[in-house]
Symmetry: C2
Subunit: 321 residues, 2 copies
């Protein structure tokens, strides 16, 4: 079987589907395929079959990378994953590598998204970039000093569980006031539900059929696009919480650029203004520092797969010192 | 003038004194000298004179480094400094370099302390290390992927102004609930004062001469060393706040090791237990990750000067990519 020079396959494993892309040596998507993610008891061997099938369908390549949702060790083992079944120390790199008789690069899906934006997206040319994925929860990835940073175990970028209010609402992780309770899609829905209960978001409540428990982030977006001031106020409050976490990361890391990805990127036009304004209000010593760029991601649902295809160029091989 | 091979001079500029050390090529301190920091109107040229004098006194050397308190650009310009007078874009690297006719490395004092611990102290051998200085405020430095990380402007490591409670006590920086309102020396004193007002720290209040406003962190330490349960409870609460910030940094950065320096390191025996215990309570998914090491610094008041002497080996020269 001949190999197209520089061709790489990347696969993003999600809770419902696995998306595979083939990139040519210029970073162009030259193939794409989706398969359903096997779920339920005994599904993990079938998941490896699915990954093998995607690599087969997408054709001969020089590199294979996989992004998976959860904590991934530097050796490519998925320690746990909330959106997959029965995962406990699932050796994706080892099992898939054995089936394909080749090296496979495996990393966290948000780390893959960071690589996609850094190499071929909104963060091209940046040596200090923080990617934050604003989805159901919050994940992320980090480039510092011109290198992808994965942390000592490979777990860097779990920004969503930074505590921003120890007396805040409980988080499924067992603590209170994690950033993702405020600044994710579910955080936006929670802020909106609280506004409806306080009778400060009648139009959102109407869109939700009158049931506060049915309020979702998309409904806030819809009302905001109609110009509803209550919905815009919820989005402003949401923007303040997003900015608060970005400011904390800026104080620690001083990035040149933040890239915001994940499902909420679909409402970038609504969120970017409030986030940027609140960032300027909240940053430490704004008069002494250039503001970092804050942009939304270029890659949307393909970010994880594209970044997985590029992992081979982002993982530093050999002694990092 | 002959030069001792590998000899380096480092100077730590503080609000009251400038401490200079000379290190030989093996990292041993072979010379040390202190001079008073010039203060008041027109003192900055005198500060450069003081630095020149320290380099002269400490003898011929191959490298000179300086640590200064405040935001330092990657070009060695001190943007501002709360504990020095009239500082506004003070070009330490340029002015001192001109006087000495040589390259001078200049960085933030906490970044210097991180270099000292990483190269010759508690963090030797660690490629992912977070140094946090717990003093009057909180500063810090960062090593990721085997390299010192300074951020795009040189301002990385300002951990003290990460907000951990947006409705918390006001901070001189203009916001509320910054980490250093809780987890620094002044944070400890504040927690203790609140305990005395609530009549939960009678022994501390007694040491303070009955005046809650006179309570200092050292008095809490003193009472705790006597075994006073109220003081120990304050230290436990303080340890929880320190741990909360460390956990936030661990979620973002996944370091192998935290090194705690600054003035509070003098009470390491009292603080380390509560900090470590609370860290285990608060970290996200503790069952899935090895705990990072949490240790106090090896270098105490000399950390900044020793690290300044080592800056030449920590600043990556050339293109970081």
């Amino acid at each position: 079987m001949s190999t197209a020079p520089g061709r790489a396959v990347g696969i993003d494993v999600g809770g419902t589907k696995c998306l595979g892309v083939a990139l040519d040596g210029h970073g162009q998507i030259v193939g794409e395929h989706r398969l359903r993610t096997p779920r339920g008891r005994g599904s993990l061997p079938k998941l490896i079959d699915t990954l093998v099938e995607l690599v087969d369908v997408l054709g001969p390549c020089d590199e294979v990378g996989v992004g998976v949702p959860g904590l991934v060790t530097r050796g490519g083992v998925l320690r746990a994953a909330a959106n997959l079944d029965e995962v406990a120390d699932f050796d994706v790199a080892g099992l898939l590598g054995e089936r394909l008789s080749r090296q496979v690069h495996v990393d966290n899906d948000a780390t893959c998204a960071a690589v996609a934006e850094w190499r071929l997206g909104a963060g091209v040319g940046s040596s200090d970039m923080v990617l934050v994925t604003l989805g159901t929860g919050i994940g992320g990835g980090l480039v510092s000093g011109g290198r992808l940073q994965r942390g000592t175990n490979g777990f860097a970028g779990e920004y969503g569980h930074m505590v921003v209010d120890p007396s805040g609402p409980p988080c499924p992780c067992g603590r209170r006031g994690c950033w993702e309770r405020y600044a994710s899609g579910s955080g936006l829905a929670r802020l909106a539900r609280e506004a409806t209960i306080g009778r400060r978001a009648d139009r959102v409540l109407e869109i939700a059929g009158g049931d506060p428990e049915a309020v979702r982030g998309e409904m806030v977006q819809e009302a905001a696009r109609e110009g509803d001031p209550d919905a815009l106020a919820v989005i402003d409050e949401f923007g303040r919480w997003v900015a608060l976490g970005l400011v904390n990361l800026a104080n620690a890391l001083d990035p040149e650029r933040f890239v915001l990805g994940g499902g909420l990127a679909a409402g970038a036009d609504l969120y970017l203004g409030p986030i940027t304004r609140w960032f300027g209000e909240l940053i430490y010593q704004p008069e002494l520092r250039p503001m970092p760029a804050i942009t939304f991601a270029r890659w949307h649902e393909r970010a994880g797969a594209v970044g997985a295809a590029l992992l081979h160029s982002a993982h530093v091989v050999g002694d990092p010192t």
